[in-house]
């Protein structure tokens, strides 16, 4: 599909926003479900991009910037794969191969992020110099430049893909053999596990593992929607917290670990 100049401009703006959010992590414009949908909206391909965004979101659930670590870049993955989906012109049918493209893009985006964060080191030294002069405006300026640099990080690749145009991308997509796309689709069903595994590794303790099992088993009942499961989860958590408190006071409050079972074991 070919898109006109206004749409291209809007796409680049969305890319810029997504890039900024990729570092700020506030409004969440970089999350696939938002970024892909916005690209779909401005190019008139809402439904395929919406589905792409939803699918990518599932893969990206556990991607988060922790401490100094950088997560795979959801911003570039979502923006670029959505543009490719739109340009490819295959509609909903193209979602599978767009996802396969998204993952390498997330890695490329990660490298770009690291480069930007390194460049930003220079910017804070300019801030230091400005601070010495008491020049508030200059400190602000360098901060804003740093934010814009992160936006440009996604906007430029987006513009490049737009500039290359629909035809080469379509040729590449059509040249992909069926065993490859089929295999990639199967792989796509599995890579979701990596995100979950990252999250579980962060949260899992002996105490909370049983709740994982309960959730897993309840999910086999396909009539319960995610909202239903969420409700059960909230209730289970509230009940557990309440019961632990009662158990704790029954223990005479000898220790304050907040783990009555552990306390009982300790006293033995």
């Amino acid at each position: 599909m070919d898109i006109n100049i206004v749409q291209m401009l809007l796409v680049v703006i969305v890319a810029f926003l997504a890039g900024m959010e990729g570092i700020l992590d506030q409004f969440q414009f970089h999350q696939p479900v938002i970024a892909c949908t916005l690209i779909g909206l401005v190019t008139g391909n809402l439904v395929p991009c919406l589905i792409l965004g939803g699918t990518l979101q599932m893969i990206a659930l556990g991607w988060a910037n922790i401490g100094a670590a950088v997560a795979p870049d959801a911003a570039l993955a979502s923006v670029a794969s959505a543009i490719i989906l739109v340009l490819g012109g295959q509609g909903t049918a193209g979602v599978g191969s767009a996802i396969a493209i998204a993952v390498p893009l997330a890695v490329a985006g990660l490298l770009l992020t690291i480069i930007c964060r390194t460049i930003a080191t220079a910017f804070v030294h300019f801030m230091d110099a400005a601070a010495k002069q008491g020049d508030i405006r200059k400190v602000e300026m360098w901060h804003i430049i740093a934010i814009c640099m992160q936006g440009v990080r996604i906007a430029i690749p987006a513009a490049l893909i737009l500039a290359v145009g629909a035809r080469p991308i379509r040729t590449v997509l059509e040249a992909m053999p069926i065993w490859l796309t089929g295999g990639l689709a199967i792989g796509g069903g599995m890579v979701v596990a990596v995100g979950y595994a990252m999250v579980i590794n962060m949260m899992a303790t002996k105490e909370v593992w049983p709740f994982f099992a309960i959730g897993f088993v309840l999910a086999t009942i396909s009539q319960i929607t995610l909202i239903g499961l969420g409700t059960i989860g909230v209730c289970v958590a509230l009940i557990y917290l309440k019961l632990t408190k009662q158990g704790g006071s029954g223990n005479g409050g000898s220790s304050n670990t907040g783990d009555p079972l552990g306390d009982i074991i300790d006293t033995y």
Binding site: K132, I136, A146, I186, M202, I214, T220, L229, V236
Partner: protein, 303 residues
């Protein structure tokens, strides 16, 4: 002191708004220092008038700082209170301010990461993602609104809380409320993760384990059906009464696994990924590996 300096609500709103850009100049040397200073600038302008004082304040806040971007808000609140006292002549030195910042950022990041990145976002994301995959535009809208309402509300109220509590908040960090929130969040998170692993990790094995010829009368005999619409009706009725569509009962490896519990292959894969991650295998390597496995297994007919 005749003219006591005081930060108004307008100043605090301005700081709150600027704190959205906390991570903007994130860098490998001092991390969030630029954004931190940027957020505090309205307060610095209000509290310090001379160039020397402003330069000192800017320099003081360009020191290392890094925490979860949302739980920085209570730290900002406390810092505002401290800076206010300092501007009013109380003996609060740079070391105290930096000490409070560093003292709070660690434990608070420990709350922010599991609560926001690993509970609220995966849950909202999964909800929105599953709606969006079905082509429902409400998915992204719900995600955007819910997330930003939670985020902005949290940041404003904790900043105000920090401002009012002043330096006493550091004691509260070890308090029970935060502990409850963290534990409750991880319980809910694990519960939802369990469901998500079951619902969304798709591993389907296609090899046929056994093909059993069914007894006569257990399957639809297509040749014997009347022609036309009547035949279709008969076939549907027969299928509804439990007859098989084919004369063979095909059991795939997947059927065997599902009879243990549906989704067990996905669970196994998730546990494998956890183990690999603990062995310091990079997530990116695993992702590429899984794509490769998908292609290879598809080619040899295993999936």
């Amino acid at each position: 002191m005749a003219n006591k300096l005081k930060l108004t609500k307008k100043d605090r709103i301005s700081v709150w708004f600027r704190s959205f850009f906390l991570q903007g100049s994130w860098n490998y040397e001092r991390m969030q220092n630029g954004g931190w200073t940027y957020a505090l600038i309205p307060a610095i302008k209000k509290l310090y008038k001379s160039k020397e004082d402003r330069a000192a304040a800017l320099k003081r806040h360009l020191e290392f700082f890094n925490t979860h971007p949302y739980v920085a808000s209570p730290v900002i609140g406390v810092t505002l209170a401290l800076e206010e006292d300092r501007a009013n002549g109380l003996p609060i030195d740079d070391v105290t301010i930096q000490g409070v910042k560093v003292g709070m950022m660690g434990p608070l990041a420990g709350v922010g990461d599991p609560v926001f990145w690993f509970t609220v976002r995966p849950i909202l994301g999964a909800l929105a993602g599953s709606l969006a995959m079905a082509g429902n535009i409400l998915g992204p809208i719900i995600f955007f609104l819910a997330w930003n309402i939670i985020r902005m509300g949290f940041m404003w109220y904790t900043q105000e809380f920090g401002y009012k509590a002043g330096s006493r908040i550091t004691d509260d960090v070890s308090g029970n409320l935060l502990q409850d929130v963290t534990k409750g969040a991880s319980i809910l998170g694990m519960f939802i993760l369990g469901s998500l692993v079951n619902r969304w990790v798709t591993v389907i094995f296609t090899p046929v384990v056994s093909t059993v010829k069914l007894a006569k009368g257990a399957f639809i005999v297509w040749d014997k059906l009347p022609a036309g619409a009547e035949g279709i009706k008969q076939a549907l009725l027969q299928q509804g009464s439990g007859l098989s569509l084919t004369s063979d009962k095909v059991t795939t490896l997947q059927n065997n696994l599902d009879s243990l519990i549906p989704g067990i292959a996905g669970l196994g894969l998730t546990l494998l990924c956890m183990w690999l991650l603990k062995k310091k295998v990079s997530p990116i390597t695993i992702i590429f590996g899984l794509f490769a496995v998908g292609i290879v297994f598809h080619l040899i007919g295993l999936m």
